[in-house]
Symmetry: C2
Subunit: 351 residues, 2 copies
């Protein structure tokens, strides 16, 4: 509608202060306030003209005729992508993070702590996916006979984690047979990644049946059952969901129920978090960008974390669209680095 050069320096500056202001006090911000708040020395009338332009561009929006302006999703997007000036972490927060994420053995415990930290420091909800099991190494495997042809398979990964699964074997095995199979598998496969073990097991089952003796073959067959693909259930640890109940923009019970239902369903959220696995740096989903209805008024700030320089999971903060991105982004960033450090036994501390 308007001619050419609309998004000049000045309008961007105004958008920036508008978003900052709105994030700060949650009220639609009007032209007078914005005139004072921006250091531009413009009259409210001028501001109004610029606002009309921004509204044409879909960056801001008026709840009704005589309310101020509120950023739209595109407005937020532009803001976080190009206008935002991140604030460094408070020293007290940083030291809390460092202290809490000091190496404390058990992986699940560390993940839980990280999730709790994310929620407590941000005062929103924190989420951390469990590390992808594919990439961790097998340490020890053990089989116990149950009733009939069922066998309890226990495997220990990565020095700390214990997983178990009940499998149904073709025939009944005795305890000593199973012991033997486990011994064989441990001697061959211990120390290699689960994915590698699975691949190798499947390969052996295909190729070399004739060359193996009966015991080995059976061991491999059992292993193939135990390592069945769909073990690798992804999951996450969520903390501080209840913090979200404090935000007025989520006060609608209907919406809140949908959000919490999504949390317990897990499916959608996991899918969303998976999209962040491959991304570099901090990733942000604003409002409906996520494609999930339940997240309509929420934003998600995430970053992947690593074990042995391999991306294995994602962590992040879930909160209302109107959140203090300039603080949350560096916070998530640092937390991801510290978690990675905590999970890498012999790592150097992050820069």
């Amino acid at each position: 509608m308007k001619q050419g050069q609309v998004l000049n320096e000045r309008s961007l500056q105004l958008l920036k202060t508008l978003v900052e202001r709105y994030i700060h006090d949650g009220q639609p911000v009007g032209s007078r306030l914005l005139a004072k708040d921006s250091a531009l020395n413009l009259s409210p009338a001028t501001i109004r003209n610029v606002m009309a332009d921004l509204e044409d561009l879909g960056l801001v929006h008026s709840p009704h005729t005589s309310a101020g302006r509120v950023p739209t999703v595109s407005g937020y997007r532009l803001f976080v992508d190009t206008l935002l000036t991140v604030k460094p972490l408070e020293l007290s927060e940083l030291s809390l993070l460092r202290k809490s994420l000091g190496d404390t053995g058990n992986v699940n415990e560390v993940i839980g702590i990280a999730s709790k930290l994310l929620s407590e420091v941000s005062h929103m909800a924190g989420v951390v996916t469990l590390p992808k099991r594919e990439l961790v190494s097998l340490r020890h495997i053990e089989f116990l006979p149950l009733a009939n042809t069922r066998v309890l398979a226990i495997f220990v990964t990565n020095e700390q984690e214990v997983h178990n699964k009940i499998i149904h074997t073709a025939r009944q095995f005795s305890a000593s047979e199973l012991q033997q199979a486990a011994n064989y598998l441990n001697s061959i496969y211990a120390g290699r990644s689960l994915a590698a073990v699975r691949a190798q097991v499947i390969k052996e089952l295909r190729d070399t049946q004739e060359k193996m003796n009966k015991e080995m073959l059976e061991a491999v067959q059992i292993a193939s059952l135990a390592l069945d693909e769909n073990n690798a259930k992804e999951d996450y640890v969520l903390s501080g969901e209840t913090n979200l109940m404090g935000f007025s923009e989520l006060a609608d019970m209907e919406r809140l129920k949908q959000l919490f239902d999504a949390f317990t369903q897990k499916r959608g959220i996991i899918h969303l978090l998976d999209q962040c696995l491959s991304a570099e740096g901090v990733q942000i989903f604003i409002g409906e960008e996520s494609g999930y209805h339940a997240f309509e008024r929420c934003s998600l700030v995430t970053k992947s974390y690593t074990i042995d320089d391999e991306v294995v999971g994602v962590l992040g903060v879930i909160g209302p669209t109107r959140m203090a991105y300039e603080k949350v982004i560096p916070f998530v960033d640092v937390t991801a680095k510290l978690l990675s450090a905590a999970l890498n036994p012999k790592s150097s501390s992050p820069s």
Copy 2:
């Protein structure tokens, strides 16, 4: 204030219909409605007199002068204790329960299913405590050396469940030493209850140190670490919390947050559920009776469940005080029986 005989047959009958009516449609019930609803053929004026008596006794309460009456906690209590006529389960519900709680191996899975059933059938929240570990028997124990003096202890109980714990031993043990210790422990203790094993281990540590050889002694020492008392963290599986968001009496965000915080804290709820362990039959906490502020507007209907005729856990339904007790009570009752049956390998079906 009033003279003698106030709680006669008729006033009880009226209280009963009042509570039923209020539970049904959530509105304070007035004298006219109550006059029609009760089969007593009394005029509204008479009803009003009775109501005044009931109010004096603290059984009902008027939100304001010209509203009808609402049952108080004592009113509910009297209702569920002596007035309630329970309704048998719908056949469709019963068959759903039977089908879903057919024996499906893994204990944790069954517990999860039970919790979900409780919430889905009742349309409120369902909760099931994990079985007390004390009473299950040890099937197999296993130790794996970690870095330094840390050892990963894995024990399998009750045919299905795998627990693990990281312990810190006095000195570093090799894999074969640990293997030997595990072998010794398995040969001696497998099949006995965890509590018994712990007691025996402690006793041996005290009494018979000189009689044992070094390996056995060390095995027992490690076992004592692994079976340390405070392993036995109680926990529960909660389902359908979000159902509670639908109830208008819990619509206050502040209150709701407190309730959900209590759910994640777990401490208070576990304490509450523990009180039901010893009780016979279905136990009910109405509103503030529980002593927990967060439960002010909620009721809890519970019953214990058993393994091998031994009470090991509690299950129940959490909902608003205004719930259909006459349906929930038999439902919880039956679910507890079916869960007990599902957890008893060789049980007969409940009567």
